[in-house]
């Protein structure tokens, strides 16, 4: 990522968008697939666009589709969204020192647009050596680029899904499986993490017939508990050794 540019508002804004380009390309297929699968999952055109416009959180939108087509209840969908997006609280906490001096009219929109991608991109910029007072414009540039990108590709997906019959039979959901598998494997760096994954997978299988997709939450909870307990035990053993 380049950091040699004139620190003007416009310059920062454009650079933020430009540095987000790889992320935009990565998100595009997901926007398309989300839009394509929305109809068959029982979401109207307005519903699909509304979700991308207001929720603006890819993985939870995908999971919501799976849950909707599985007949999950409202409470389960909202609570699963909460669990899946909890990681954003960590981003929010991490970026706080950089936005603390800004007014709420900056903090509210930047919070609304906070995604994994923008977090990754702006962290570099905020950490750069120059003391530019305009780095939040860079943050805004990345946010707007990601937001516009997500909405455009969702719309493309929705339109494709309505124009071609049977797109939902192609198994496009596999894109989600491939991505999630890749993310999980890259996170399996410690034994407690592996144990958390195995536990969550096993409980998800055992509890798969629970109503409202409650099995997913139970599995996630079991995985987290096992991971935390094992990590605690490992830490204690190391402290005693």
């Amino acid at each position: 990522m380049t950091t040699t540019f004139h620190p003007t508002r416009h310059g920062e804004l454009l650079q933020g968008a430009r540095d987000s380009l790889p992320m935009l390309a990565g998100a595009a297929p997901f926007g398309i697939i989300f839009g394509t699968l929305a109809g068959p999952s029982g979401l109207s055109l307005l519903g699909a666009m509304g979700m991308s416009l207001f929720v603006f959180a890819g993985s939870s939108q995908f999971i919501a589709l799976t849950l909707l087509s599985g007949g999950a209840g409202l409470a389960v969908i909202v609570f699963t969204t909460f669990v899946v997006n909890l990681r954003h609280a960590l981003y929010s906490a991490t970026l706080l020192p950089h936005v603390a001096s800004l007014g709420q009219r900056w903090r509210i929109p930047l919070a609304f647009w906070l995604t994994d991608e923008t977090f990754a991109v702006v962290q570099h910029r905020y950490g750069a050596a120059d003391a530019s007072p305009l780095k939040h414009w860079y943050h805004l540039g990345s946010s707007l680029a990601m937001y516009g990108n997500w909405i455009v590709w969702t719309l493309v997906g929705v339109l494709l899904g309505r124009s071609f019959e049977g797109l939902d039979k192609l198994g496009l959901e596999f894109a989600m499986v491939a991505t999630f598998t890749g993310i999980v494997v890259s996170l399996l760096k410690t034994r407690p993490m592996v144990a958390a994954a195995i536990t969550a997978g096993a409980v998800a299988l055992l509890a798969r017939d629970m109503p409202y997709k409650l099995g997913l939450l139970l599995a996630a909870l079991a995985g987290v508990v096992v991971g935390v307990l094992l990590e605690g035990r490992t830490a204690t053993e190391e402290a005693q050794a």
Binding site: M51, R107, F174, A175, S186, G215
Partner: protein
């Protein structure tokens, strides 16, 4: 748009925004307790595995399919292998999807 859809979108919007805004709003006043911080690190692995495993092992949602004809399983294994061996997420996505669609096409 049905009322149910509207409720789903409103609910998802509210929780997602509140999470993202939590620390921006509160400032430095609030800190995560260490146990919560530790638990949060396990959330992605636990949630994502819980979503993927049933989809891969029971592709139709009802019947186990533990054989080489299961494109979901094969594709996921390829994604996992690429992620583990090369630590490259885009390649893991692309490789897994390529094998998945190739396998479905070959077996069709």
């Amino acid at each position: 748009m049905s009322q149910y859809e509207l409720a789903v979108i409103l609910g998802m919007t509210a929780v997602t925004f509140l999470i993202r805004y939590s620390f921006f709003a509160l400032g430095d006043k609030v800190q995560f307790p260490p146990l919560v911080k530790r638990a949060l690190r396990y959330v992605p692995v636990a949630v994502l595995t819980a979503i993927v495993v049933p989809m891969v092992l029971l592709p139709d949602g009802r019947h186990w399919q533990l054989d080489w004809r299961n494109a979901w399983l094969l594709g996921a294994l390829v994604s996992a292998f690429i992620a583990w061996r090369f630590n490259h997420l885009l390649a893991a996505m692309g490789g897994g999807m390529a094998v998945f669609f190739l396998w479905r096409w070959l077996l069709a």
